[in-house]
């Protein structure tokens, strides 16, 4: 049998001789040896620390838990021959040992508690969102009476960031979606020899649905998330609190310029997406169905009513309000930690896209009732 490294039990002298380095690095081995040792069941035991070359608080913890267990079994223990430093450490650690039992146990709540909590939280958040909207509306109306609080440069800056710098990616995406739609529809139309109807299908679907929807979803991912992250970090840094104490509401300086900026930007981006989507479809129609750009455009202006463009454009401001208000609201909901910024940013994008699609469905129902 291998000679134990750290422990020697002297049964006659009722002594436990500890030796070697009782440190965190050796704790695993120490624990194994302590477990293997044949402990007395009664009587007295002297724990002798003369052989300990180095002890840290992990070693002290092990000695103390060991002697606690022995005491519980009815063995009286006492320390002997520890160095002055070790003795101090043992004293210090032993004062804190009773506290180890006080760790509150955190039991995960049952599913019904979680469901209840979630429901209440959702309701509260909805209420908070409505409160937020109401307050902002009030502040926006206030701008009519205090035009000096209207921050034009801030709005322009936001238009630049959320609109101008998004032109490239939105053009590219719409172009490709135009290509894809034309390709899918072209297959069916070619079967019936109705090639030229690609113009009607493509024009209507892009102007009424894909243009506004695509640009909104892009903007929700690109701009909604950045609103939330920016405002969230500002909230954590107490910049929002600082503004409040200076008598400038975050509403005027941060929120309204963002919301108004996006309100202007998104309809413009929609037109941009319409143009590039149509170009993409037109190229595909030319390649696949033999409808030349000349025929395409000539039929486009004859068959596609202006109404389609206006319906598509009419949705954009609603989507813009949804994205911007959700992005700003979630940003202002950030509390305390970096993790909170992450969750709120995710929420902002998911909720933004969810409500865009929900609103789009509502529009479809309303338009069908109105026979538009």
């Amino acid at each position: 049998m291998k000679e134990p490294l750290f422990l020697k039990f002297d049964a006659e002298g009722k002594q436990l001789l500890c030796q070697g380095e009782w440190t965190l690095a050796n704790l695993g081995n120490l624990q194994r040896e302590v477990k293997k040792a044949a402990w007395p069941r009664s009587g007295k035991l002297q724990i002798n620390g003369a052989g300990i070359s180095k002890m840290d608080s992990a070693g002290a913890w092990l000695i103390l838990t060991g002697s606690q267990q022995l005491e519980a079994q009815g063995v009286k223990t006492q320390w002997a021959a520890f160095s002055a430093q070790s003795e101090k450490l043992l004293d210090y650690v032993s004062k804190k040992m009773p506290g180890l039992a006080d760790l509150p146990t955190v039991t995960p709540p049952s599913w019904i508690t979680r469901l209840g909590k979630q429901t209440l939280q959702q309701l509260r958040e909805t209420q908070a969102y409505l409160h937020f909207l109401g307050k902002l509306t009030f502040e926006a109306l206030g701008l009519f009476f205090h035009p000096r609080q209207f921050r034009l440069s801030s709005i322009v800056n936001n238009i630049d960031k959320t609109g101008y710098r998004a032109l490239g990616i939105i053009a590219l995406l719409s172009f490709m979606i135009g290509v894809v739609i034309a390709y899918q529809m072209g297959f069916q139309l070619r079967n019936y020899g109705a090639n030229v109807f690609i113009v009607d299908l493509l024009g209507l679907s892009i102007l009424r649905e894909f243009g506004p929807l695509l640009s909104s979803i892009m903007v929700a991912g690109r701009t909604g998330s950045s609103f939330t992250a920016q405002l969230g970090i500002m909230k954590i840094n107490q910049e929002i609190d600082a503004l409040n104490t200076m008598g400038v509401t975050p509403g005027q300086l941060l929120l309204l310029p963002r919301i108004l900026g996006l309100l202007i930007t998104l309809p413009l981006l929609t037109v941009w997406a319409d143009i590039w989507g149509t170009i993409g479809g037109m190229l595909m129609a030319n390649n696949m169905l033999g409808v030349t750009p000349y025929d395409f455009l000539e039929r486009f202006q004859r068959e596609i009513p202006l109404r389609s463009l206006l319906i598509g454009l009419g949705k954009a401001p609603v989507f813009a309000l949804l994205i911007a208000s959700i992005g700003c609201f979630e940003g202002m909901q950030v509390e305390g930690s970096a993790e909170s910024v992450g969750t709120k940013t995710t929420r902002s994008v998911v909720l933004g896209i969810f409500f865009i699609i929900l609103a789009d469905a509502f529009f479809s129902i309303i338009f069908s009732k109105l026979r538009l």
Binding site: W61, Q85, V93, L100, L103, P104, S337
Partner: protein, 256 residues
């Protein structure tokens, strides 16, 4: 206590943001002492600390910690060294997504193969040693007061039972009572665990109360390393100016 140097810095020079933060700086820290580092704003205290932790690289010079030259050390050597020191950052740097217990247990989980139960008990022990109540362990850092966060961060710094502890402004932003508590903790750790501690601080009370020697940084060098009583009497103009304010006189009056 053997009088050996645990940190030995020689001719350290750092060029940062268009000027020399320190130039030809030399300093040695003895085993078992509490060394304060002071100096005016921008004297390079934090830079020096970051260089000792190898978070920032100097232009030239040598830094030996535990007798190992860290400026040329391999990643594996550095890792082994890092396990032997603990750091308390100025803004605590607690992981906000973990509870205090998880925060403190994190280094143990990463660096040891101990059982979960052992890790939990050791981490909780360190939390208690740092003077926090047990029920703070299950809270998140954002739910704690500034002083408690500091203690939690200190618990995390000592969880691997380091031989060397770096503290960056441990009492900044704390009320006098909490600050005193932290100072007492530092002294306690030094006395019971034989820690060597380097404290970067501006807190006059900490300097008087908790340090054995104080290094004064200025003009890119260590102008003087001596106990507070001697340092405050040092005739060097920068040091004299630093210690002549009413705050430092009040602190001196209390401790002398």
């Amino acid at each position: 206590m053997p009088d050996s140097a645990i940190i030995e810095i020689k001719d350290l020079s750092t060029y940062l943001g268009g000027h020399w933060v320190n130039k030809g700086l030399s300093l040695s820290v003895q085993r078992g002492e509490v060394l304060g580092v002071v100096g005016g704003s921008g004297a390079g205290k934090t830079t020096l600390l970051r260089e000792m932790l190898w978070l920032q690289k100097p232009q030239s010079g040598s830094i030996q910690i535990f007798g190992t030259e860290i400026t040329t050390a391999s990643a594996a050597t550095l890792l082994a060294l890092q396990r032997r020191w603990g750091v308390l950052f100025q803004s605590n740097a607690l992981f906000s997504s973990l509870t205090v217990l998880e925060n403190v247990a994190f280094p143990l989980k990463e660096h040891t193969t101990l059982s979960k139960k052992t890790i939990r008990e050791l981490a909780l022990l360190k939390i208690l040693l740092a003077g926090l109540p047990a029920d703070a362990a299950v809270k998140y850092p954002s739910e704690l007061s500034g002083g408690m966060q500091k203690r939690a961060a200190l618990a995390r710094a000592i969880v691997l039972d380091p031989e060397l502890l770096f503290l960056d402004e441990p009492t900044a932003g704390l009320d006098p009572n909490s600050a005193e508590g932290i100072d007492d903790l530092i002294l306690n750790f030094q006395a019971t665990m034989g820690l060597t501690i380097v404290i970067v601080t501006h807190d006059m009370d900490s300097l008087w109360h908790a340090t054995n020697r104080v290094a004064f940084l200025g003009e890119g060098k260590v102008l003087s390393v001596e106990p507070m009583a001697q340092l405050t009497a040092n005739p060097h103009p920068l040091i004299k100016q630093f210690f002549t304010g009413p705050r430092s006189r009040a602190a001196k009056g209390t401790y002398q």
